[in-house]
């Protein structure tokens, strides 16, 4: 699973992108967020306030309850501010 981080999430995790293998119980975005928080203090801090985070699954806006699978591209970012 490919995870992308933008804006403050990229800064706080210190990563633009990472490839992870999640445990079987991670089946939706909410589960992924909880699991990512355990990867380190930067991740935990970045994902602390989920209300400030938007998510896209395979480049489509998604919600916390959106199902995810092993080959998905999942991006986390703040609400878009436009160009």
């Amino acid at each position: 699973m490919r995870i992308l981080y933008f804006a403050f999430l990229r800064q706080r995790t210190g990563l633009g992108e990472e490839t992870v293998e999640t445990p079987a119980e991670v089946r939706d975005v909410a589960g992924l967020v909880e699991w990512l928080k355990t990867r380190g203090p930067g991740h935990a801090e970045a994902m602390r306030d989920v209300s400030a985070i938007r998510v896209a699954v395979n480049q489509e806006f998604a919600g916390m309850d959106t199902a995810i699978a092993a080959n998905d591209e999942i991006a986390f970012f703040p609400p878009v501010t436009g160009g």
Binding site: L4, F6, R10, A56, Q59, A75, T81, G82, G83
Partner: protein
Amino acid sequence: MTVKVQRDDFDVGAEIAALTAGRTDIGGVATFLGLVRDIAGGEAVSAMTLEHYPGMTEKMLADIESQARERWALDEILIIHRFGRLEPGDRIVLVATASAHRKAALESCEFLIDWLKTRAPFWKLEETGQGEHWVEARESDDEAAARWEEAPRKAAE
């Protein structure tokens, strides 16, 4: 239909000329050119960095272009959006719409720039005297884009 998401600057005159080159059926081209302002939210801005989501940006831009084509009778649409670090006075975005009739060109241009300014997957990091900060989404911009979400229509003229 052309969408370009690029780091480099663009040449407005050349882009508009290319849009209409050899065409004699276009009555008008409406354009909007967005520039970096030296002030934002009452604060002096020395530079900003636009970050985007490569791949998703192009996909969303192509989608909004299709929506514009469904609503208005357009001959050509051009969207150029820059990313990276930009300074006050720099060009950020160009939208150009060409149609036989001016109303279709003008309305679709406004629709596209409202969308780009609010819904496009870009994030702005502003540099000010107080350091750097990520710009937060603005409500008045959301309202401008929301106006377009009423019943679809196709301008007759």
